[in-house]
């Protein structure tokens, strides 16, 4: 009797999951994924014949990149070392002393990130898989050519606080092992939305932060939480950049692909009230997105500001992957970081 | 020897027991009879130390735990074999297995020694519980309706077992019973309770054959000698 119950239970679970899997769009083999991406990178404004001919089935997605490489969509990444003498406060707002910060470790990692070895890894990341580099090195970025000390027991663990976008791009998985293996450090990466990533540092839970939101970074420095490392001119070490991309339905009803600039594209979306999915979580992506809307709309990261537009503007308060899924399902527009979109596209978009 | 002075036990507003004075002599056999709710179980619990009196004093010379054997109305069967259940009563003592088996034989349960105790019938559970109580010598034996669930065929054996035990150990016996005939057989004195109060107290023969109080007469109404 027991055995029978177990078998039935098992069968039900299996059946449910089989149904869930069957509902997915089938994935194509990986080598055919690379082709559409390179083509889109080349021909920015024109609608590609292959894509208009098969509207619903490009990699099984109904959305694609419509606009990219606009200066307004440039996303600069900086590392900032946390100041051990910063005015740390506890949860009640009282000053706290004796907060442990591994500045030596932070310096080692920061130095390495500015080194040529790291520069090469960054520049080549994504090329093999997607046919293009996902991150570009900044002109005039700081360069480190000195010796990086090996890890000691006291300096081994480096806590790096970064954003979900950085983690989701997979860059750190490609970069950090080289650093860890060579110098013996262990980098503990915690990723959260930009606001929380910075907050983690102000609560003494990070030694180094890697974020991409200039205003928030400058506030961090102004509040005294950053320290200028030896050999650098500034607390903020801006070393790489990439672009956000405007993703939207293959049919592109707002004609964004033909827009002059991303701001123009955004005003077209707003005018036509086409469905738009926003991160809504005050992340770096969200901050950038709200800056691209026409000023007259008054859209900010404050939820109250978008109340009037709820018929077409969706504030999801979720991660990038979820937003892309939503845009895919409702044929909407979304501002995404390219790396996550490419990963999303490569896995056929949804389950499967 | 046990003495009760001005003892009262209440459950909320209801007076369960109200005894101004009662003396139980050492070595006597006292049967407590009365209808349901008259306080028989409450009295036994009080004597066993399971509950405390709200008022009054209970003075008992059987102080040491282990010298009192109390059989509750609904005994609990522990999750182990019947023999192990009885051996529990002999914890820390030598020769447990043999003595447990002897006790089981006295109540006629030796054939179930290895059975799982929680699979027994009501009557068998009660007999096992009695074996637990009788497993070692006690100074005071308090039995709450010891044969209430037992099959009629086995009742005689149980009553014999109790009598033999009392004769062997010389303990004091206080028991409650629904059946006046059982009181007749096992006791030297009878206490008839009426609504928590003493209805009548006296020698067995006298109370059962010639009850003085109306309440006692009412209780014994349908019983024939």
């Amino acid at each position: 009797m027991t055995k029978r119950i177990c078998l039935v239970f098992f069968a039900v679970i299996f059946a449910l999951s089989a149904v869930a899997c069957a509902k997915t769009v089938p994935t194509l083999a990986t080598d055919s994924d690379a082709t559409p991406v390179t083509m889109e990178a080349e021909a920015e404004a024109s609608a590609l014949p292959e894509i208009t001919a098969v509207p619903e089935t490009t990699d099984g997605l109904s959305i694609k990149i419509l606009l990219e490489q606009d200066d307004d969509m440039m996303n600069n990444y900086s590392v900032i070392a946390v100041n051990m003498a910063a005015p740390f406060k506890d949860a009640d707002g009282k000053a706290v002393s004796g907060v442990a910060i591994n500045t030596a470790g932070a310096k080692a990692l920061a130095d390495w990130l500015m080194s040529d070895e790291a520069a090469q890894l960054i520049a080549s990341y994504g090329v093999a898989e997607y046919g293009e580099a996902l991150f570009m090195l900044k002109d005039g970025k700081p360069v480190f050519t000195g010796e990086i000390p090996m890890a000691t027991d006291a300096t081994r663990v480096i806590r790096l606080s970064t954003t979900t976008s950085v983690q989701d791009s997979g860059l750190l998985d490609a970069l950090l092992p080289a650093f860890q293996d060579k110098y013996g450090y262990t980098v503990e990466v915690s990723a959260a939305g930009t606001g929380k990533a910075i907050a983690a540092a102000t609560m003494g839970n990070a030694d180094l932060i890697l974020v991409h939101s200039k205003t928030q970074e400058e506030q961090f420095v102004a509040d005294g939480y950053a320290v200028k490392l030896d050999g650098y001119d500034s607390e903020r070490l801006t070393f790489m950049y990439n672009y956000f991309v405007l993703v939207g339905p293959v049919s592109d009803p707002a004609k964004c692909a033909e827009a002059d600039s991303v701001k123009d594209a955004f005003s077209r979306i707003a005018e036509g009230k086409f469905a738009f999915v926003s991160r809504g979580d005050k992340s770096g992506t969200h901050t950038k997105e709200v800056s691209l809307w026409p000023e007259a709309l008054g859209i900010t990261t404050d939820p109250a500001s978008i109340a009037a537009y709820s018929d077409w503007y969706l504030s999801s308060n979720a991660g990038m992957g979820v937003c892309l899924t939503m845009a895919n399902e409702m044929d909407g527009y979304v501002l995404a970081d390219k790396a996550t979109f490419l990963a999303f596209q490569a896995s056929g978009g949804a389950v499967g | 020897m046990i003495e009760l002075f001005d003892v009262q036990k209440r459950y909320g507003a209801r007076v369960a027991l109200d005894i101004p004075a009662l003396t139980i002599e050492a070595g006597e056999r006292l049967a407590v009879i009365g209808p349901n709710g008259s306080g028989k179980s409450t009295l036994l619990r009080l004597l066993a130390g399971m509950i405390g009196a709200d008022e009054g004093v209970v003075r008992s010379s059987a102080f040491v735990r282990g010298e009192i054997g109390y059989l509750p109305q609904k005994p609990y069967a522990f999750d182990m074999s019947v023999q192990k259940n009885v051996e529990l009563a002999l914890a820390g003592e030598p020769n447990r297995a043999k003595r447990a088996q002897e006790a089981l034989e006295r109540v006629g349960l030796l054939h179930l020694a290895k059975a799982r105790a929680n699979r027994l019938s009501g009557g068998e559970t009660q007999r096992m519980a009695l074996a637990r109580v009788l497993a070692k010598p006690r100074k005071l034996l308090l039995l709450d309706e010891p044969t209430a669930c037992v099959d009629i065929a086995a009742i005689e054996q149980i009553e014999r077992a109790i009598l033999d035990y009392v004769a062997q150990t010389g303990c004091t016996l206080v028991f409650s019973s629904h059946a006046p005939s059982q009181a007749m057989l096992l006791s030297t004195r009878v206490l008839a309770l009426d609504g928590g109060r003493i209805g009548e107290l006296g020698d067995t023969a006298q109370v059962l054959h010639d009850p003085q109080e109306e309440s006692t007469r009412a209780f014994l109404k349908n019983w024939k000698l």
Binding site: T2, F9, F10, I13, S17, A18, C21, P26, T27, F88, D90, G98, V99, A100, I101, R159, T164, Q167, D168, E188, V189, S190, M203, G204, N205, A206, A318, G319, M320, G321, V322, T325, T340, S347, A350, V351, G352 | M50, R65, G66, E67, I68, G69, Y70, L71, P72, K74, P75, Y76, F78, L88, A89, A91, A129, R132, V133, A135, K136, R138, L142
Partner: protein, 228 residues
Amino acid sequence: MNGAFARALALLLAGDPLLTSILRVTLIMTFCSSMTALLLGAPYGVLLASARFPGRKALILINRTLTGLPPVVCGLFCYLQFSGTGPLRGLHLLFTVAGMVIAQVLLITPIIAGSMETAITHIVEPMRESARGMGLSRGRTFLLTLNESKYALFSSYLLGFGRAMAEVGAVSMVGGAIAYKTNVMTTAIMMYTNMGNFSYALALGMLLLLISLIVNILAHVLQRSVGV
């Protein structure tokens, strides 16, 4: 249909280091949390059911309330305590499995205690009467109570195990979901979902379900063989 499940199985069999590390951390954390919670909560639950002392009813009520503690609130509380600026920063518990275990123990102990208390509260009186009636000491009676509650112990443990493995709010805050260190199945599922990698997330989800199923079947079989 290739199936996310087949993919997960393939990754597992291939010994994918990320997946095996997630599994390992999950199992270690779950066992530690549930065991500690059992050792703390079970005797407390039994005590609540059997002992009579003033304030007992209040304690039972408090325990019942604590079972409903939202995991994310517990996580937040622990985060603030263990944080770099928090009072317990010297213990270096943030972003460690130990910290996650502590947060989970706070969550699960009341659940186990409550489960034990409910299970045995109705047998405590009859048991006590029979045990004391035989002449057993209070200590022995208590031990007997524990023995009688073996099955309640079992099901309470399972309850705790299930909660520990499925929990995500507290462990993500205290652990930080750090790769190869504090990333457990639930936090990994969240992470991959956010990244858009639903197939990996689903694979992990099914693995989680399968483990739960195995544990429950095992428990059921054990209960039956012991013969309740």
